[in-house]
Symmetry: none
DNA sequence: TACGCTCGTTCATCAACCCGAACAATAGTA
DNA sequence: TACTATTGTTCGGGTTGATGAACGAGCGTA
């Protein structure tokens, strides 16, 4: 569990095992064994790693089942409205001080598109307009039909895959 | 630093060193040395401690000089007012989803009243109306005169002591 | 006073973490 | 091909954390 956390943070930082070990001032053999899951590191070692990775120490303990949110078509809290023929569902409140870029994407079935992790704190919002797709962070992919909404952290490895021709979806990339 | 955190949490839990070591399944000698600041514990040891203390592991890394706030009579930001003979000082903004119980207390000099720690997240607000008192978390007691305001975490050991007869104060107990 | 219990500390012994060096694998370059 | 520079792995050995027993101190009771 802690092994996975170290690997995760190291790969996100884009550093090699040797480089990280050097920066942290620990032997690369130590780091190798830690990432292999063998061993029970001391606090000092973890401190050095966290410092070199520039992350809070507590992050190395998080199992981090990343926070995803799935709202199926027709689900979700409907916002009240004065007008009768108007219906809105709040999918995600916008946190302050974030930038949200919107993309309109058409995708064809075929190969699975794997995305490199984006910078820390990035969140992706997917809203399928037409077709069908499979998307999500590694191990938490979901099959979305038209109208479904799915948001997940973009700073983890994730993948897109269209399951029907001309699958159309909206992607909102949220950056801190 | 980590030594202080362990001691802090242990005293909060009201457990003895021996008892905690037994519950955590570690030797009490180990715990003794850790609290003495000697040594560099392994993750496994800390995990056992955190589990026995029933706190998240990350809490054992926080320096946590508990957040206290002292506003002397006449100090503090005065809120603007339309009316001339009106003055208000914002002592503490109310966080959302908390309950604030208000107590009016009269106290006589004499013995020091030591309070058992309240549940985690509790905050106490003291506002002296008349008299003089000494109050605060252990090691951070302050002498308050009439009009002084002092807030501090209530989930740590703390004490009250009146320094003048008929000391009157307002206490707001804030619970999450 | 003597006994029993719990408190927290100190001391040798064992296990383990951490280290450094040597190792195979891969990639880029002359 | 050979040389060089990376990658991450595996292997002894020294340092250190974790252990359990023994210790003195404090408290309540017979």
């Amino acid at each position: 569990m802690i092994a996975a956390a170290i690997q995760r943070e190291r790969s996100r930082a884009g550093k090699s095992l040797s480089a990280l070990a050097a920066e942290a001032g620990i032997a690369k053999s130590t780091l190798s064994q830690l990432e292999a899951g063998n061993g029970n590191p001391s606090v000092e070692t973890l401190w050095a790693l966290a410092a070199a990775l520039d992350v809070p120490l507590s992050l190395l303990f998080e199992t981090e089942a990343p926070a995803t949110k799935l709202v199926r078509a027709g689900e979700g809290d409907v916002l009240e409205s004065e007008q009768s023929d108007f219906s809105a569902v709040l999918l995600s409140r916008c946190p302050p001080n974030v930038r949200r870029d919107v993309y309109r994407v058409v995708m064809q079935p075929g190969e699975v598109r794997r995305a490199q992790p984006h910078p820390r704190g990035t969140v992706e919002h997917m809203l399928v307009c037409a077709g069908q797709m499979r998307v999500g962070p590694a191990g938490q992919e979901e099959v979305l039909l038209a109208g479904d909404y799915y948001s997940y952290p973009g700073d983890h490895p994730h993948s897109y895959e269209a399951l029907q021709p001309d699958t159309l979806f909206l992607m909102v990339m949220e950056a801190p």
